[in-house]
Symmetry: C2
Subunit: 646 residues, 2 copies
């Protein structure tokens, strides 16, 4: 069943299109060796994966499979209708992690989970703890909310990860049987249906790539083309909630539930790529570009509405009601990575960097034991500490929670961190492209050239120096491309005695190369003011601070030592000078606003004259923290966008 | 059962507290004789009530009662679980309207509805088409969402209207039996429960006032005191959704579902008043004051979140996602009227005026055949025309819809318009207070003084002249009080040869009076800029225009003739001069913004320099329309708050 060229499948690549401008490298080819993402990968390996597994045992989501085997369903079923999917996402994280480190304990746990899941699969390949048993709803009786195809999608993605890091095993066989079942039931002449939550599309496409089976790709294409024709029932949130309002190829922008929209887009790129469907690919590219241009937060977060966990309209980007679900960040990474591979445009690598640092990294607490589900950009009230012994409501955004009733985000973070190497670099016929400046050792094959190796030494984004040493090279020349992010405007490249300046995009350094050759890229990492488009009503009169790719924020716990009150909503920043960097901290001049604090007892918040503005304090320097690090020091209020003093 | 003093009950008063700073007058005492509200009452009588009745026949909500009688439930049941309540709200509107005009056709239709509903009542007084029959959920099995007590509340309110305008009849008897049933089931020693949607509290309190039966008031108090102790189950929206998070007397501000919070507050004022519970009354007053000061839109609308149809946090008032449900406007009127009666504070009459002109009047289309459910303050995309032959989703806010799947708003508008006279004036021991400057004839009894009559002649708010002629007066002196709204700062009062200036509040004109005496109040009704508190992040850098009590807005259909583009989001207003009034229109200087319109294809909406501002057009005058009149000329975009040119 699997592609017989076993070596081709054991490449550790999360996404492996058959063609495209760039080719992905696998997680075995990119060894992250330290720095920001090295620490995050360690946190994932040491804490997050264990944490997720323990919680899913505790709340019974893994136990659902045991209950199924023992005939104790539906009585003993726990969790929401899609809880199986989180077990699969955990297993995907484990699979990448085993592939990355060979962790024997994790391998044992992966096998143990497989032993509990495999027996639940029915003879025809169906596998779900929620449907089909006496006392449960029948299979496929609720396409809007049942999530059966969504669960299959995550099963298949986990199996692809397993196959590409370990090879075929029982778990992979289970997923292949499930995929065959899906094709049997929903193929041509079968049930004319789509799932309420896209995910099966990109999963089946990747399984097709893995196995070489056209059937899976065709089924992915069929699901994709069926969508947008109203096969799903009408719901109060509207058909755009699950992107069943308009066919994918006719849509103009992402809309509705953000995670659904992004997973669907990822599947659409996969299908379009494999079918050489330029119309479809172009449609997704345009939709995504408009979404990034007008429906995306400074953090790279997507989803402006809590209602329906959804995209807002163009330029509807309220900081305080930012939903910016962690999973939408993961979805955006998936779409951007696929478009990067297809087009080679640095825009997509820029977005990946932004989302990684400011959404994915923002979700876990510093200790890895609590997570943000939604990622607000403005916390108006200090949060209360979420329950530590039971799941929290999903959109509890004031402080990170250990687990959620809907807990898609922690496992999504875990699988992304474990497979992060795949986002760092790509190859093409002419050489190697370094997209993310991550301390790492990369060794991979450049087609028609041979094995190339580099070592990336950097403390980026703490500072802007990225050193690259050639560790392996054929004699034939090849090109090393280094990304200069759009925010940099200009970067310095040192290669031997040559010093050149480069603008955003890729600096292309041509070979021949020799082992030990070095290149240094100097990016202008320093704190800077960032201004919003005036089209974003919610941000008028406000400014943010970024440093390199890192969005910063003002947290109320940092106002108190500066004697600036206790609430970020009562201060304004003075932008006459650049933000200050001092002892590794970013500081901005801040004063208590003479207007933001309303007089006590003012009965009506509107008046017939412009409010007078008299600062109520001296201007003092207040430290900002990286957005991803906020809410690690107890309840506080927080703003990314700060009012500007007149 | 009813208070034996029949004349005391036939007074047409929607709310009749036993004591308070002011005493209400009934709808028979205040005859609105023309002008803005005269036209609205005519529209209600001629169109809105008929429209609501026809739609509820068409969608089967009235037919549910027939189906119940014929034993065809649950098979033939139509509509949501609370659809009975809309039939009762329609009947309440009919009752007030019959009381106001004596309309014989309406009287016949009211009786016909009674004949269809009364037989559905069960021997123990229970009455609901949704619960309790074979195949239906059992009675009182879903307090969170079942709405049984909510439906009873509307039944009782309709019956109070009927009793106070017609006297006891079969319909009133039905409601009294239902109220007795509620007291039997939920009284001391009975079911320890509250309903998910408050409404029964204020209804039972008023029935207690009507009948003199202490039991109803005690039951209202019991429901009120039970709330906030977690008797309702946990829901994903959180316990604040139905105000079960904190006891009413301990809360600090209104929160959660806005209509629920406001109906509950109205009931709390009723209970606090009748029980002389100053602590409770003070708590509601403080909560409402803070809500008005920090959680209320310029229109008087309440509810900043579509999710949960809920209040936001303090100063969370996004224009584009304003929910501002029409029913929340009605709820705000109910609370403000009760607090006005209790305290005599003009603040409450100011809010009533604001909500009437800018929420209640904004809901119906000019032809009375379509309604806004939510009332946005910023329409970003031109709406599409809602379905004309089937109910629309409830929050369809782009254009008014003929009917909704949840259609609480049209009937709430209808009952409010029919009983509007009661908001116009009050009496106290010393005289008569004119709160709303509505063309009307008022004749009522001032306690200890006698019958007084006035005729109010005015085109207000078209202009600011309010003429009052004494039409009936005893010899004893009494005081005529005229409200000067807070926006007026100062008004001129002419009484005979005397001309005085008065500030906001009540101008108190002491008698003795003689028939034919005249007073003229001159309010400075002219278009003015209104500025937001800087604490409202969503409004920074924006300005609105009000004229008298009327909020205005810019609608895109008015940009085109001025050659200013087709989208309100691309223009800014110049505020150097006052807004212009010309031929009855309000106009403001507007130019195409040099910044708001993004260059085509700009890939990212944030940048590291302040956006340059160069206007892209001359400054031209563009007309504004009253907010209540927008969206009557086809799809358009709209803003209440407009960006200010630098």
């Amino acid at each position: 069943m699997l592609n017989t060229a076993a070596s081709a499948t054991l490449d550790g690549r999360p996404v492996a299109p058959s063609h495209g401008r760039l080719r992905p490298v696998g997680i075995q080819d990119v060894r992250i060796s330290g720095g920001f993402w090295g620490r995050m990968q360690e946190l994932n390996a040491d804490v997050i994966i264990d944490h997720a597994e323990r919680w899913m045992e505790q709340v019974g989501w893994i136990g659902n499979f045991d209950a199924a085997r023992a005939g104790r369903l539906p009585a003993d079923r726990r969790g929401r209708e899609f809880s199986d999917s989180d077990v699969y996402k955990l297993m995907e994280a484990m699979a990448w992690e085993i592939g990355r480190t060979g962790d024997a304990d994790l391998e044992r746990r992966f096998a143990a989970l497989t032993d509990r899941i495999a027996p639940v699969q029915e003879p025809d390949g169906y596998l779900n703890t929620m449907f089909g048993r006496p006392g449960q709803q029948p299979r496929y009786s609720d396409f809007e909310w049942g999530h059966e195809l969504y669960c299959f999608g995550h099963l298949v993605q986990a199996a692809v990860a397993r196959a590409r890091t370990h090879g075929r095993d029982t778990f992979v066989d289970v997923a292949v049987r499930a995929a065959d079942h899906v094709c049997d039931v929903f193929g041509p002449g079968g049930k004319e249906a789509v799932g309420g939550h896209p995910e099966i599309e990109t999963a089946l496409a990747e399984l097709g790539r893995l196995t070489g089976e056209q059937r899976y790709l065709d089924q992915a294409a069929l699901f994709l083309e069926r969508r947008g024709h109203g096969l799903l029932g009408e719901i109060e949130l509207g058909q755009d909630y699950f992107q069943d309002d308009v066919p994918v190829r006719d849509a103009e922008v992402l809309r509705g539930h953000a995670v659904r929209a992004l997973y669907l887009s990822a599947g659409a790129v996969d299908v379009a790529t494999e079918r050489h469907d330029r119309e479809l690919l172009g449609a997704v590219e345009r939709q995504f570009a408009r979404t990034v241009a007008s429906r995306t937060y400074l953090t790279g977060g997507m989803g402006s509405r809590h209602e329906g966990e959804a995209f807002g309209l163009d330029h509807e980007l309220p900081s305080d009601r930012a939903y910016s679900e962690t999973c939408a960040g993961v979805g955006a990474l998936q779409v951007a990575q696929r478009l990067l591979l297809g087009t080679g445009s640095p825009t997509h690598a820029d977005l990946i960097e932004r989302v990684l640092y400011n959404v994915v990294a923002a979700s876990p607490a510093q200790d890895g034991k609590a997570f943000f589900y939604s990622n607000t950009l403005h916390q108006r009230e200090p949060g209360t500490t979420p329950a530590q012994d039971s799941p929290s409501p999903r959109a509890a955004s004031s402080l990170r929670a250990p687990w959620f009733a809907v807990s898609c985000c922690p496992t999504n973070v875990a699988r992304t961190l474990a497979s992060l190497g795949a986002y760092v670099a790509t190859v093409d016929d002419g050489g190697l492209q370094l997209h993310q400046h991550v301390a790492s050792r990369i060794e991979t094959t450049v087609p028609d050239v041979g094995t190339v190796g580099i070592e990336v030494s950097t403390r980026y984004p703490e500072d802007g120096t990225v050193g690259v040493t050639i560790t392996e090279t054929p004699d034939d020349p090849w090109t090393l491309s280094l990304r200069v992010p759009a925010w940099a405007h200009s970067a310095t490249v040192r290669r031997g005695a040559s010093v050149t300046e480069a603008g955003p995009g890729y600096v292309e350094l041509e070979g021949p190369w020799h082992r030990g050759d070095t290149v240094e890229l100097e990016l202008p990492v320093r704190a800077r003011w960032t201004w919003p488009s005036p089209a974003v009503d919610a941000l008028r009169g406000q400014v943010a601070v970024e440093r390199g790719p890192i969005v910063h924020c003002l947290e109320s716990v940092d106002l108190v030592p500066a004697d600036l009150g206790t609430d970020v909503d009562t201060v304004e920043v003075v932008t006459d000078e650049e933000p200050v960097e001092q002892d590794g901290e970013v500081l901005v001049p801040v004063r208590v606003s003479g207007t933001a604090a309303e007089p006590e007892g003012r009965p009506w918040p509107y008046q017939d004259h412009r409010p007078a503005t008299e600062p109520r304090s001296d201007t003092r320097l207040a430290p900002l923290v990286p957005y991803h690090a906020w809410a690690n020091r107890g309840p506080s209020t927080m703003r990314v966008w700060m009012p500007v003093a007149d």
